[in-house]
Symmetry: C2
Subunit: 335 residues, 2 copies
C-alpha cells in the first residue's frame, strides 16, 4: 500500500509548525529532526521543507558562520573541538556542520564518529551534525545552507562548518560562510602539501595548527615562509589583512587568540558593509541552487525509471559512452 506509506512519512497539518516551534525553543532533538527533514530529496517532503524553512528563516541569520578548511590530517576536527569550547566559554552556543561535495561516493558522515570532537560533543551548548550524504540529485551545498538556517533559528550564534572533502569543498564553503579559516599542516614532512592550490586565496585567517612539541619550531618556520608569500595574494575580504596565527589544539595555546581574530574579522567586515554584501550574494547563489534542485526533483518526481536513467547516463558520460546532448534530450523527453 504505497499510498499509506506516503501518508506516514508526510507530516500531518500543524506538525511542521510544532516542529519549527520546538526548534526555535532550542530543543535539540527537534533540531536534529528538522535537519533530517531538510536533507530529504523525496518529493513528498517538498512542501514540509518549504513550510519549515519559512518559519525558521526570520529567526536565522544572526550567527557568525566560520568555514574550517585544510588538507586531510591538518587537524580540523581537533581544532574545532578546542575552538568550539573556547567560544562556549565566551558565552556562545556553537553548532558544527560539515560539507563534503565528494560524498556521493563515500557516503559522507565522517563526522558521525563523535569521538573526533569528544570534549565539545559533551558540552550542553554545542550541537554537532555529521555531513549530509549526497542524494541522487546532488545539492550537498544546498543542504548545508539550509542546515545553517535551522541551527541559527535554534539560537546557535557560532556556526563552524568543517570541509570534509578535498577540492570543491573549499569553494562550496566559501559560498556560505562569513569567515574562512585555513589550517596549514606543519611537521608532516612535506609542508608544501598543505598550501593546496587555491586554498590560501580563499582564507580570511591562516592558522599553523599543531604548533606544539616537536612541531613548534616547524610551525614557526612555516609561519615565516607564509608571511613572505602572503603579500603576493589579495585578501579575499577587502579591507582585511589576513593574519597568520599559531595554535595548538592539544595544549589550547593560541586558541583564544584565534577566536578573538574571528570576532575581529566580523567587526571589520560589518564596519565596511562587506559582511552584508557577501550574505546577499550568497543568498542569490542559494536561490539558483534551490531553483535548480527543485526543478530536478520535479522532473524525477514519481518517475523512478527516469531517475534511474539519470544515474545510468551519468555513468555512460564518465565512460565516454554517451553524449551530453542525447543524454539531456532523453531525460527531458515526455517530461
Amino acid at each position: 500500500m504505497p499510498v499509506k506509506e506516503k501518508k506516514k512519512t508526510k507530516r500531518a497539518a500543524g506538525q511542521v509548525g510544532t516542529l519549527a516551534a520546538k526548534v526555535i525553543a532550542g530543543e535539540r532533538a527537534a533540531l536534529a529532526q528538522a535537519i533530517t527533514l531538510l536533507e530529504s530529496s523525496a518529493e513528498f517532503h517538498r512542501a514540509d521543507q518549504a513550510e519549515l524553512l519559512k518559519v525558521l528563516l526570520p529567526e536565522s541569520g544572526r550567527s557568525l558562520r566560520i568555514g574550517i578548511t585544510g588538507v586531510p590530517g591538518a587537524g580540523k576536527s581537533t581544532l574545532i573541538d578546542s575552538l568550539g569550547r573556547e567560544f562556549i566559554k565566551r558565552g556562545s552556543k556553537v553548532a558544527v556542520l560539515a560539507i563534503d561535495p565528494s560524498s556521493s561516493v563515500s557516503g559522507g558522515s565522517i563526522l558521525g564518529d563523535k569521538t573526533r570532537m569528544e570534549l565539545l560533543s559533551r558540552e550542553p551548548h554545542a550541537f554537532i551534525r555529521p555531513s549530509p550524504t549526497s542524494g541522487m540529485l546532488g545539492g550537498v551545498s544546498l543542504r548545508t545552507r539550509e542546515a545553517i538556517v535551522a541551527v541559527e533559528a535554534a539560537g546557535f550564534d557560532i556556526v563552524l562548518i568543517e570541509t570534509v572533502g578535498v577540492g570543491q569543498s573549499e569553494i562550496a564553503v566559501r559560498g556560505m560562510v562569513d569567515c574562512c579559516l585555513l589550517l596549514m599542516l606543519t611537521g608532516a614532512g612535506d609542508e608544501l602539501q598543505s598550501m593546496k592550490r587555491g586554498l590560501m586565496e580563499l582564507a580570511d585567517i591562516l592558522l599553523m595548527s599543531k604548533s606544539d612539541g616537536a612541531n613548534a619550531e616547524a610551525a614557526e618556520r612555516l609561519s615565516t615562509e607564509i608571511k613572505l608569500v602572503l603579500p603576493f595574494l589579495r585578501p579575499f575580504t577587502p579591507g582585511w589583512t589576513v593574519p597568520v596565527l599559531l595554535a595548538s589544539a592539544l595544549s589550547g595555546e593560541g586558541v583564544p587568540e584565534l577566536a578573538q581574530s574571528a570576532l575581529s574579522f566580523r567587526d571589520c567586515a560589518r564596519a565596511s558593509s562587506q559582511f552584508d554584501a557577501q550574505r546577499r550574494a550568497q543568498n542569490e547563489q542559494w536561490f539558483e541552487e534551490r531553483l535548480s534542485f527543485e526543478l530536478k526533483r520535479k522532473l524525477f518526481a514519481g518517475d523512478t525509471k527516469r531517475a534511474e536513467r539519470y544515474q545510468a547516463l551519468k555513468s555512460a558520460l564518465q565512460q565516454g559512452a554517451s553524449n551530453v546532448v542525447d543524454a539531456v534530450e532523453e531525460l527531458l523527453s515526455q517530461a
Copy 2:
C-alpha cells in the same frame, strides 16, 4: 500574428542539416550562424539547437583548448593576436572565443571590436567570435562550451578562450579548457595586483606578458619572484611542471616558445591520460549545466509573466527584500 513569426524564426526541416553540413565543410558564415543559433535562449530554437549539436558532436573534440586568463590590462587580446598567428604559421586553424560570466550587466561583446586583434582577424585561418551576451537564464558557460563544439566541427584545431570578466571567469574557463595560460602584468606599478587570488593556482603556464622595452627588467624581476612562490603551489595538472615564460606580443619575442610550451603540455597530459580524464569530467559538468538550463527554459517557455517575476525576485533578493524559499516557491507554483 505571433504564430507566423514563430514559424519564420524556426528553421524548416532539413535546414539545420544543411547548416551543419556547411559548418563541417568549414564555411565561415555558416559557422557564425550556427553559433548564433546555439546562443539563443528562445524556446522555439530548442529542437534546432539539439539537432545541430548532434550532427556537429562527432566532428568535434580534436582541438587543443587553451584558456587565456589575467587581470584586465594584462594584454590578453594583444597576446592572442600574436599567439594565434604563431599557431597559424605552424599550420593550425585558430578560433578565438570569449567567456564573460559577468556580462549579464555589461552585455559582453568586448571582443566585438575586431581591431583589438587586428592582424589575427585578417588571417583566413582565424575565426574570432565576440563573447556571448548572458541571456536571462544565464548559461554563459554553456554557450561557450557549445561554441567550442561548433568551431571544432568546422576544423579549427586550436581554440583560444579569452576570459573577459573578472572573478568567476577563470573558474568557468578552467572547466572547459585543456590548458590554462595566465598572463602576469609587469611594469604596471603594482605588480602584486596581477597575482590575483586563485588565478595562479589554476594555470598550467605562467607568462610575463609585455616583457619589452622599459618593462623587460620588471618582467625578469617578477619572473624571479614568481619562481620563488611557485614551489608553494601544487600544479593544477598532475605530472606537469608549470613553466614561467617571458614574452612580448609587440616584438613577438617569446611567442614561439609559448606556443611550443602549450603543445608540450598537451603531449604530457595525453601521455599521463590526464587529458582525457579532464575532458570526461568537463562533459559531466556540461551535462549538469545543460540539464539545469533546459529545465529553466521549460519553466519559462511561453510564460512571460513568470520570466519577469524571476528577474524581479532576483533583484528583490539582492536588496534583501525577499527570501529564497518564498522566491523559489512562487516561481514553481502552477508550473
